[in-house]
């Protein structure tokens, strides 16, 4: 039952990825402007142009190009970036950890903030505290991450300059890292000075990304908690003498969290999509920032690679949330 569900999801995931590959391939081949002509010096001859086109495989038909590219991708060869003249997969893997760290820190902030306000709101239901939380989460939800980023830049970058608003790490620092997971590695090496510097750069973009998601978690979890709090077994716990906070944390939360979990999965993919512009805003050297440069430079192989990696990330997150839901939901587990 569970395995069957997993296999069906895996198959649709592959179809989706194939669709993404087709769409992005068609879209960027329609683009006017010759990327090869742009990278040649002014004195280049037509023969130079033709040779370079052949080198990047641009002299073949679109269908041929697509299948050459796809068979390369299947072998892990995403081609060579036209503007940076390096292996696309290498470039993507170099930047992906920065984006993943940012997204995960944002997710942690969103869950912490949304969870706390949901629990407080459920405990104080019907009071001015709950009304205040509702208004705050309504505003946090309606204002997108791009605008939150600008607000945070003004507040904590200019008005009270306590955080860094540009880059991933202070450039004068000597970095001992061997991987690109700077934050994770700084924690492992117990270089807390570096952790602090990384967090000072990461916190503002992460909060900008986290606020809309925190609002959704807060609203949904509070709603489920309020429903669960009226059920018999919770009333029983209250009669046994547990305080309201204990009732929520020990009894209600476990059962109220499931609907929120499925939603967080989809919303987390939106959050990752938001890193593209938020990284640009904060000059954070991640995958999204590189993607915008790739579009501006008409770097076709690099754009294809980045979009496909984002799509892979999205479908993997959806797949794992779906599986987690199936495992945690007793009705599906024993069905």
């Amino acid at each position: 039952m569970l395995l069957q569900r997993f296999l069906i999801r895996l198959l649709t995931m592959l179809i989706t990825l194939f669709g993404v590959a087709v769409v992005v391939f068609v879209v960027i081949r329609v683009a006017p402007g010759d990327p090869i002509a742009m990278m040649l010096p002014p004195g280049a001859t037509d023969a130079d142009l033709a040779r370079l086109r052949a080198l990047y495989g641009l002299d073949k038909t679109i269908v041929q190009q697509f299948f050459i590219w796809l068979s390369g991708v299947a072998r892990g060869d995403f081609g060579t970036s036209i503007s940076l003249r390096q292996d696309v997969l290498g470039l993507v893997f170099n930047r992906l950890p920065a984006t993943l760290e940012l997204a995960i820190v944002a997710l942690i902030i969103a869950v912490a903030l949304g969870g706390t306000t949901a629990i407080i709101g459920a405990r104080e239901r019907g009071t001015a505290v709950e009304a205040g939380i509702d208004i705050a989460s309504g505003a946090a939800l309606s204002i997108p991450d791009f605008l939150w980023g600008l607000v945070l830049i003004l507040l904590f970058g200019v008005l009270v300059p306590i955080f860094d608003i540009s880059g991933r790490v202070s450039p004068q620092l000597d970095l001992p890292f061997v991987t690109q997971f700077y934050l994770f590695e700084s924690l492992l090496r117990l270089r807390l000075d570096l952790t602090w510097d990384l967090l000072k750069h990461m916190l503002m973009p992460a909060v900008a990304l986290a606020l809309p998601l925190a609002a959704i978690i807060s609203q949904l979890l509070k709603q489920s908690l309020k429903e669960v709090l009226d059920l018999d077994y919770v009333v029983l716990a209250r009669v046994k003498g547990f305080s309201e906070t204990q009732v929520i944390l020990r009894e209600a939360l476990k059962n109220a969290a499931l609907p929120t979990l499925t939603l967080v999965g989809v919303q987390f993919t939106f959050l990752i999509g938001g890193t593209v512009i938020v990284e640009r805003l904060f000059s954070y050297e991640g995958l999204g920032n590189m993607a915008i440069d790739a579009v501006i430079n008409r770097d076709l192989p690099l754009i294809q690679g980045i979009v496909l990696v984002f799509a892979l990330l999205f479908v993997l997150i959806n797949l794992s949330v779906d599986m987690m839901y199936a495992l945690l939901n007793p009705r599906l587990r024993h069905g």
């Binding site: 649709t12 669709g19 879209v27 997108p144 600008l150």
Partner: protein
């Protein structure tokens, strides 16, 4: 539910504020040549980085100050509103028409139509939307129609997913079955019986989508891919403001406030409309 009943008694102050702001901004944009105090493109290096009216060194006639080229900020915001509203209305309506139609078809007919449309939606959802928008505008070429087209191409799925689900729910109701027994054709039932019942959701989504379109346009001008660089846009002003943030904060603050108010108003408006139109809540 409670909120819906409360709003029935009178129009909530939030709706008044939202509607008031949108009307004000829309009228200012329409009559921009009349209400704009200065020429939004006029550069004057003698007037560069003038502060807003309450600060020392402000010039009369330049209420919100000027940018680093001496252009009047208030006039640029008012003229930028023109592009923002044109994009908001046309992109949202285009996305709505495509998405709602496909959603109705998928939800009502089910079967293969639903399978194909849902697969396409899945593919679309696997793209990071902002990157997709930037890519499309880069491909279509910068300009107003490209921006509108790009937003419509990306955001039709928002309508499609919701309308599909709602139509599916409606299709199993008794009244649809009755209409079928009464001898109405499938398309007739879809348009005459099902469509009116999903209109509240369409209207609410439309209002939300207008706010989203304003933001996407601002993001595109922020990365310098929207309209030609001469015309003032809210995102373009924000990009200038981000660069001169330490010398002239007002160039960032005022367009930011304008954008936040506009987006909040569109989403408040959408929610209020949904509760107004919803037959169950009404």
């Amino acid at each position: 539910m409670d909120e819906g009943r409360a709003q029935r008694r009178g129009v909530s102050p939030r709706l008044w504020l939202a509607g008031g702001w949108l009307l004000l901004a829309l009228l200012a944009a329409i009559f921009a040549p009349l209400v704009g105090p200065q020429d939004p493109l006029a550069q004057d290096l003698m007037l560069e980085r003038l502060p807003p009216f309450w600060m020392n060194g402000a010039e009369p006639g330049y209420w919100l100050g000027t940018d680093s080229l001496g252009r009047d900020l208030l006039s640029r915001l008012i003229f930028g509103g023109r592009i923002a509203f044109i994009v908001a209305f046309s992109a949202a309506i285009a996305a709505c028409l495509v998405g709602s139609t496909l959603g109705l078809i998928a939800g009502y007919f089910g079967g293969w139509a639903d399978r194909i449309i849902s697969r396409v939606v899945d593919v679309w959802m696997a793209f990071p939307p902002v990157l997709f928008a930037i890519l499309l505008v880069a491909v279509l070429g910068t300009g107003l129609s490209s921006v509108i087209l790009a937003i419509a191409i990306i955001d039709w799925t928002r309508f499609c997913r919701v309308i599909r689900a709602e139509t599916m729910g409606q299709s199993h109701m008794d009244y649809v079955e009755n209409a079928r027994i009464a001898g109405y054709g499938r398309i007739g039932i879809m348009l005459r019986e099902v469509l009116p019942n999903v209109v509240p959701s369409i209207v609410a989504l439309l209002s939300l989508e207008m706010g989203i379109a304003v933001i996407v346009e601002a993001i595109l001008s922020f990365v310098n891919l929207s309209i030609s660089t001469d015309d003032p846009t809210w995102g373009g002003i924000i990009a200038e403001g981000r660069l001169s943030i330490h010398q002239a904060w007002w160039v960032l603050v005022f367009p930011l406030i304008t954008l936040i108010l506009t987006v909040l108003s569109f989403s408040q408006f959408g929610e209020a409309l949904k509760t107004r139109f919803d037959p169950v809540l009404r």
